[in-house]
Amino acid sequence: MTQFVLGIDFGSTTGKAVILDSNGNMVAAEVSQKGAVSDESVRVALGAALRHAGLQLDQIARTVSTGYGRRMVEMADRTVTEISCHARGAAHLIPGVKLVIDIGGQDSKVIALDDDGLVVRFAMNDRCAGGTGKYFETLARALNVGIDEMGPMALKATLDMQVTSMCATFAETEVIALLAEGATKIEVLGGVHAAMAKRTLGLISRVGKRDPVAMTGGVARNPAAVHHIEKALETRLILPEQPQIAGALGAALFALDDLRDQAVATPLPKAIPMDDNDLHGVEEIEGSSAPACKSKAN
């Protein structure tokens, strides 16, 4: 009988869920954004994943959670940090990858991998959301553009405008000042993305540049972010089809390891209850989650 495992990434602004079958095939992958460290986004992602997989929660044999909220996922059999999970997930999606740049809602990390896909070194931002999804959200509001419009607009910039503030809050002030001086939104956006790339380069330098390089996390969906990081790094980035699920996929792969080893996990501290009843609201907010992805994950 086929069994299923679940990986949950309880991130700073999004919840992600990936379901694998016992042969390692990915049967569902969902992303939901509801706000900072919100269990609701995890419930939505999980509910959508189960629905797309045609499963009930009690059919999940093993669950591993990751992300900052990993200890809040009561159903998890164990937790693994997002460093290990992102590395595992990215190495699975892109065999042979040596450097993973993950820029999410509030955190950014760079992970160097060895030939076996194991973490060699990592670096993370420290209590500063500069250059992360939160940074772009703030600026999108300041510039009155859609978050998904920012990247395509920024790619049209030609002037290399300098945006010096990396603070997600103070960058808003600087951007408003630039607009008041007559700068166009396109040029400001170009400068903002270049600044983010420079900051990312600093994080990469702490780990050491190596090839091939992949980018994961929500900001990887921003073409201008990718372009400017590629320019700063002088190398092409490999982008997985669904860049936000790397962590949840890694968690699911660890769950699959457990299933295959029949390892017994230590129960985690009690947290937010999450049972089938909590998933009934999924249908109302279906539009906020990404479609299921069926791909072979061996």
Binding site: Y68, R78, T79, V80, T81, E82, I83, S84, D116, G117, L118, V119, R121, F122, A123, M124, D126, R127, R206, G208, F254, D257, D258, R260, D261, A263, A265, T266, L268, P269
Partner: protein, 451 residues
């Protein structure tokens, strides 16, 4: 890929196995500060200083002393740092300033009784005004001898200005040991010898400064006697630290942090020798009985950086919960009379200067890195944890270099996190959790691969 067991879960019921001897240290520290508070009524002059261990020089002249970092650390450890930090900030000393300096400057402000309104408006019998921070006696002299850190040097000047520029101040310039010439080795080479000679010359001038204030000839025999006790205490301490190569380690970094006082600022006497004898004996007994400083030692870690003084006990228990023993650290194991063998008790100034100039922020990154690499090999360290104190650039500046060099040379997992030495607001628990857990997962993964 083979299955990797990386179930890093904090077992919250586990606690660090504290040494009994540490209680003795706590008592000695309390008694010392009380004796300082009584110094004016006992007719003793008081010196304020920061940085290197000038206390034996002062002790020989029967001068009481207040070591700035020690007072700041004490306040933080007792969670009494709030009023002085607030007083300093209100007096214009920014939160980004070295928190040791900010806390101690706040003490100066409170001592001077020129406190800003919010603090001075407290009732006279308030526990805050009665707190440690406001009890330090006004200095009769200030001696500035801070290695490498320019903030430290300016800190003494700020104290001088806080007391109206009326307190005599003596400045000792401590050359930083660059160590980049081919002839420059750790504690040897022309560069080092020139720096030591320069330091000794200034220490002698400082002694003349003390004589001018006390009005008495300096008692060099007394200095020799004090240094006899300090040297012996330092030797025993190093022997006790060396015993922690044992598995499981009988003592951890947090224990050694709690035992800095006797080799940093407590008076040189039989008491500090006895303290380390007792500590060493207790550690040896643990080795004999196979008792470790954490309930289950799965990982041995090295801590680079200053301590979070507000959270020592809490951090000790945290690592115990992860089955990780923080065996040693740069702050504790590479500093505080770390080279006692060079002290000639007949003429101690040269050996003292050598120790001052080889404290962990006085030597260059390559020399520090080399010492850490060797230390990690000797103590069979599994992972390097770096605490970047937000307000201490002097300790933090080489940390990326150390992380990179040590990580590569020893093929060792490394994790860094930001915190602070006495400002708790810079410390965030979950950030530390994530990084420590990720490092422990790396250790597990490597072990699984090697198996």
């Amino acid at each position: 890929m083979e299955t990797l067991s990386m179930n890093i879960t904090a077992a919250t019921q586990k606690k660090s196995n504290r040494l009994q001897t540490t209680k003795l240290n706590n008592r000695m520290v309390s008694e010392y500060w009380e004796s300082l508070f009584r110094a004016p009524e006992e007719g003793r002059l008081v010196c304020w200083y920061e940085g290197i261990q000038l206390n034996p020089i002062l002790q020989a002249a029967d001068i009481a002393w207040c070591h700035g970092e020690a007072m700041s650390a004490l306040l933080a450890a007792r969670h009494e740092e709030g009023p002085s930090q607030q007083a300093a900030e209100e007096a214009g000393y920014d939160r980004e300033l070295c928190s040791y300096a900010r806390t101690h400057v706040g003490c100066a402000v409170m001592t001077q009784r020129s406190t800003p309104e919010e603090v001075s408006s407290l009732p006279a019998d308030s526990s805050e005004l009665k707190g440690l921070a406001s009890r330090i006696p006004v200095p009769d002299m200030i001696i500035s001898a801070y290695p490498f850190c320019s903030t430290g040097q300016q800190w003494d000047d700020v104290i001088y200005r806080t007391f109206g520029k009326k307190v005599p101040i003596f400045n000792i310039s401590m050359p930083w040991i660059w160590g980049n010439k081919p002839s420059a080795k750790y504690m040897s080479g022309p560069e080092f010898r020139e720096s030591v000679d320069f330091m000794v010359k200034q220490l002698k001038e400082c002694i003349r400064f003390i004589e001018a204030i006390t009005g008495k000839p300096y008692d060099h025999d007394r200095l020799n006697e004090v240094m006899t006790y300090i040297k012996r205490a330092a030797e025993i301490r190093l022997e006790a630290m060396d015993l922690c190569k044992a598995r499981p380690s009988p003592a951890n970094f947090f224990e050694w942090t709690n035992s800095i006082a006797p080799v940093n600022f407590l008076p040189g006497g039989q008491e500090i020798v006895d303290y380390f004898e007792k500590k060493k004996a207790e550690i040896q007994q643990r080795i004999n009985e196979g008792v470790g400083s954490v309930p289950e030692e799965k990982y041995r870690l090295f801590w680079d950086g200053i301590m979070n003084w507000n959270k020592i006990g809490w951090l000790a228990d945290k690592f115990a919960q992860y089955d990780a023993c923080v065996v040693s650290g740069r702050y504790t194991h590479l500093g505080f009379w770390q080279e006692p063998q060079v002290i000639d008790l007949e003429s101690p100034l040269d050996g003292m200067a050598q120790n001052f100039l080889t404290c962990p922020i006085s030597i260059s990154a390559p020399q520090v890195t080399e010492k850490i690499v060797q230390h990690c090999r000797d103590f069979e360290i599994d992972g390097l944890l770096l605490h970047g104190a937000r307000t201490c650039r002097a300790f933090s500046y080489p940390q990326h270099l150390i992380a990179d060099a040590v990580g590569k040379r020893l093929n060792m997992p490394v994790a860094m996190f930001e915190g602070d030495m006495v400002d708790e607001s810079y410390y965030k628990d979950e950030i530390v959790n994530s990084r420590v857990e990720a490092m422990l997962e790396q250790i597990e993964a490597r072990r699984a691969r090697s198996a």
